[in-house]
């Protein structure tokens, strides 16, 4: 869930809505004249407030005059993750990786403990998505920035998301090939719950791991969409039990209710239980 970096009220309350990750935004949500103030505010908030979830900071692009200053000020507070907007090359990720490594050394943080995520928001970025995703061991996700992407495609955003079908699919393929997560774009109309749920169901169906949100009300909706049903959880447990039993018996073929269970089915069952466990937290 994004929270504007120069708004003390939103920063101090960001942790109470149950989001898996809060993203303190130093980029689009902050006026150009307040970039310095937002950096100080985000640094002090991370240092002082005990957030019950992952804490990420969306920095300004590393090649703007603000990006490096953002990192210099916020890294000593030890955010869990740095999110780069408008990623277009592996080189940008390597630059950030290097700055983080130095900050970890200078501040006595565990090497590799601060992660990176990158948002792909242009056609050029999408062409480099796999290289971006594999540019650093710190990379944990690729996200798609829908609004900017649609502008770059010279079209507008439809309710069905036809114009983003290929970009979303390509981004997902790049993330999966790299073995990292794929996170979907924000849905801007906070009053359209039905539209939000439709989009969340669609991106879940494509294989995305989650969705960025801009409003606390949308956190509950994403969780509702991604939360496995009781029936799915029970079935996943049965599959894993049958699998374990077969392993114990050293049996090659595993069947449950007359259906063969193989690797992908076991993986899916594990994923269902992992989601259920994550949402219980």
């Amino acid at each position: 869930m994004f929270a504007p970096g120069n708004n003390p009220g939103k920063l101090q309350n960001a942790g109470v809505y149950g989001a898996d990750s809060v993203i303190f935004d130093l980029e689009d949500a902050v006026a150009i004249t307040e970039k310095d103030a937002a950096r100080h505010l985000v640094y002090n908030a991370i240092k002082s407030i005990n957030y019950p979830c992952e804490v990420a900071v969306r920095i300004n692009h590393i090649q703007t005059p603000f990006g490096r200053d953002d990192l210099r000020v916020v890294l000593p507070a030890k955010p869990d993750l740095i999110r780069l907007p408008k990623a277009e090359s592996a080189e940008e990720i390597r630059m950030i990786d290097e700055i983080i490594s130095q900050a970890e050394l200078d501040n006595g943080f565990e090497p590799g403990s601060i992660k990176i995520g990158a948002a792909i928001e242009t056609a050029i970025g999408l062409r480099q998505a796999y290289e971006i995703a594999t540019a650093s061991k710190r990379m944990t996700f690729l996200a798609i920035g829908g609004e900017d992407f649609v502008a770059d495609l010279k079209t507008s955003r439809s309710k069905e998301g036809r114009e983003l079908f290929v970009p979303r699919s390509e981004l997902l393929l790049a993330a999966r090939a790299a073995g990292i997560q794929a996170i979907d774009s924000v849905f801007s109309d906070v009053n359209d719950e039905e539209g939000f749920i439709e989009e969340a169901l669609m991106i879940k169906g494509l294989g995305f791991d989650g969705k960025s949100v801009i409003n606390p009300r949308q956190v509950r909706l994403v969780h509702k969409v991604f939360e496995p049903t009781e029936k799915e959880i029970a079935q996943a447990k049965r599959i894993l039990a049958a699998y374990q039993e077969a392993l114990d018996k050293k049996s090659g073929v595993i069947a449950l209710d007359g259906k063969m269970i193989d690797g992908p089915i076991v993986t899916r069952a594990e994923r269902v239980l992992a989601y259920a466990a994550a949402l219980k937290r």
């Binding site: 009220g9 310095d36 103030a37 407030i49």
Partner: protein
């Protein structure tokens, strides 16, 4: 550092925020003029956080005006840091 050369300001008048102006002072020491809806309960604490932050930045001579709207300590510290950084930049405020 010790002395500021020009005024610097940071913060807003939104709730949970504080607007801080730091300016050069004629005499040694830190003078704080504070307005806050919680001045009776937290006035001393707010002054202490402002003064401690200034000292940690090496500022020992300043006139500070602060209009608090219920800011947490971390917000007060951030706004003082930004105000001082701006007071040290060319042009100030």
């Amino acid at each position: 550092m010790g002395k500021l050369l020009q005024p610097g300001q940071a913060g807003t008048i939104e709730s949970n925020d504080i607007i801080v102006t730091v300016a050069p002072a004629a005499e040694d020491g830190i003078v704080i003029e504070l307005t806050s809806p919680v001045i009776k309960q937290y006035g001393n604490r707010i002054r202490e956080v402002i003064a401690d932050t200034l000292v940690s930045l090496g500022v020992t001579q300043a006139f500070v005006q602060a209009n608090d709207k219920g800011a947490l300590d971390c917000t007060i510290r951030a706004r003082v840091q930004t105000a001082v950084a701006r007071a040290l930049q060319e042009g100030g405020i």
